[in-house]
Subunit: 208 residues, 2 copies
């Protein structure tokens, strides 16, 4: 997914670039795309990506705050989980399912937000290494965090994610009718009991 | 998906072939793949496919019984909905969700059954015409029939399908853990309440 040739040697520093220029940011993102797709999300490090880009790690933190933020920018994802998860997990627990359902459906209703998400899904379908990268990011940055905050088993978040992602695929890619044409509010009404049931699960009875 | 060159003229009869040979069946399937991908499932006809293959329509019926059967054979799908749907819709209504969930998970647990299903999904993700063909088949041959038999709104079957298909994707393509490793019985326990709720829906309150 990187426009940068893979043959470029790791860790080569480019002389004469001023830190903090617009070009530096692009250089870090190119290095991030290359490193994430080679090593996966978990094994990639801010330090390694900085070295690959020939910049100081502090500059990476300055631009992207975290490895998650860098992944979001590198893959051109429409939202940063750091911003969204608190919105889902704070507020009344019995309404968390509705907040999550409405957020996913509203976010993916905008084509410019949906396209990078579907592009990642297409890549995961055909490339095992990219599937691993996406799995690590989704698990680490999204599903585990919500599951820990709500104190539910991870598999319940995965079932909820499978339901919502499946609906986005059927609505926008397969275009099943009437699923593709009903309003977001109608879908929220249909899906919220499912999602809320998963989020209500207890650690004692993970699968009930 | 057809190995046959598209330039071959429609309706050309091949002299000297005996009807009913093994080759005739392959010839019909090649014509079916070409016709389905060009016209979609709904607009393709047994008569048109027979003409394309240069055989008598009666021979198509002899080999495949129905247009659905021909699609299943042409796409190398592991099961024919004609065989499966009665098994899902007969028996106690309050257990239909469990029967459907267990069937989908058991069927896709075999790699040779799962691969053609995932191949169709990959194609749908990248090719609008193939997505339309798959949409028409899934709607006509699977979802509408179950929805009509159980007298529930079609959108509820689509939500159930999105849940089950989403789980298959997350288990076998993205390989989210622990979803990818738990037993089919554990997944049946986790997902059945969701699927049963969709199948319990009434026509009066389609989205509740």
């Amino acid at each position: 997914m990187s426009g940068r040739p893979e043959s470029e040697p790791t860790g080569r520093r480019r002389p004469g670039r001023r830190p903090g220029s617009a070009d530096t940011r692009g250089q870090i993102l190119a290095a991030a795309r290359e490193t994430f797709s080679e090593k996966g999300f978990d094994k990639a490090t801010v330090r390694g990506i900085a070295r690959q880009a020939g910049v100081d790690p502090a500059l990476v933190h300055h631009y992207f705050a975290s490895k998650e933020g860098m992944f979001v920018a590198a893959m051109e994802l429409p939202v940063n989980p750091d911003d969204v998860i608190p919105m889902i997990t704070s507020g009344p627990r019995e309404e968390a399912g509705e907040r999550l359902t409405r957020f996913v459906l509203t976010m993916t209703s905008a084509e410019e937000a949906r396209q990078p998400v579907l592009a990642l899904a297409r890549t995961a379908m055909t490339n095992d290494r990219m599937a691993a990268m996406i799995r690590e990011f989704v698990t680490h940055a999204v599903l585990s965090r919500v599951a820990e905050t709500l104190e539910i088993p991870l598999i319940r978040m995965e079932a909820a994610f499978a339901q919502l992602f499946g609906v986005v695929l059927m609505r926008y890619v397969v275009k099943l009718e009437p699923l593709a044409s009903v309003s977001i509010e109608e879908l929220v009404e249909l899906l919220t009991p499912t999602i809320q049931r998963y989020l209500d699960g207890s650690r004692q009875f993970p699968l009930m």
